[in-house]
């Protein structure tokens, strides 16, 4: 992928990610998050991870975001009032984030291995079938355990959403 496209999609992802957190209206936040995650899936495509990119769009931009919008609608949330945010919280949050960004920048700058270009891939490879082979051979047990996890989660959601817990 050309560097211009990479930086366009990275800027799209980071810009709309920031918009998610800055917006006061929850619906606008959720829609910004959709665009941010679509930019992220474009970056996955640029890394030749086509299956993961498609899964990202289907699960996040599809299912998770619909769930978020549905809950926002269900709770009938309005744009929140501008509240006075306490100064220690603001300073602490900004300081911790700035420290973290500095740390990442320092690590990335001194990580010489990462400055090499990406090795080239085989001319033709079947991403989805490779992932399927891995999933059903080497990662078969975790795959089945995750099925149980989703079952437990869906039962838990039903129990939590019931009006009366007897």
């Amino acid at each position: 992928m050309s560097p211009i496209l990479f930086w366009i999609f990275a800027a799209l992802m980071l810009g709309f990610g920031a918009a998610t957190l800055v917006n006061r209206n929850p619906v606008a936040s959720a829609l910004s998050l959709v665009v941010s995650l679509l930019g992220l899936s474009a970056l996955f495509f640029s890394l030749d991870a086509y299956f993961i990119g498609v899964i990202q769009i289907l699960v996040y931009a599809g299912a998770v975001m619909v769930l978020f919008l549905f809950i926002i609608m269900l709770l009938d949330l309005k744009a929140e009032q501008r509240r006075q945010i306490s100064l220690p919280v603001l300073l602490g949050g900004v300081a911790v984030t700035a420290l973290f960004v500095t740390q990442i920048a320092l690590v990335v700058r001194t990580f010489q291995v990462g400055n090499k270009p990406f090795p080239s891939l085989a001319a033709k490879f079947d991403d989805a079938s490779n992932i399927g082979n891995m999933l059903f051979s080497h990662y078969n047990l975790p795959f089945q355990v995750i099925g149980v996890l989703i079952l437990v989660a869906s039962i838990g959601v039903v129990v939590l959403s019931k009006r009366e817990l007897n």
Binding site: T20, L74, E80, L160, R163
Partner: protein, 105 residues
């Protein structure tokens, strides 16, 4: 030329965005969206490392499998978390975390 370090930097910036959102926002739904951003930042660096470690012309699929499982667990987590938020809203009629200061039901 886009290198691994560019991807790692972008991923770190996305993580920092989500992290600052969790720290600074008071709406519990937006905090949840910040958590999603942090999970996705980790996914981006995993996929970048998977693409960087090429053997026999194929990327290292272990990283992508981990991303697959993270996405699945994140989807389950969102479902359970939003159900908890709905239950909380029924009990307290608020989504502001500063109004939820008693750790008892």
């Amino acid at each position: 030329m886009v290198t691994l370090n560019d991807y790692l930097l972008v991923s770190g910036l996305l993580f920092a965005l989500g992290f600052s959102g969790v720290l600074l926002r008071r709406n519990i739904l937006i905090i949840f969206m910040g958590l999603e951003l942090m999970l996705n930042a980790a996914n981006l660096s995993l996929v970048a490392f998977s693409r960087f470690n090429v053997t026999n012309g194929l990327p290292n699929y272990n990283g992508q499998m981990l991303v697959f499982f993270i996405i699945t667990v994140a989807a389950a987590e969102v479902a359970v978390g939003l159900a908890i938020i709905v239950a909380l809203y029924r009990a307290r009629q608020t989504t502001n975390v500063e109004d939820l200061n008693a750790l008892k039901f």
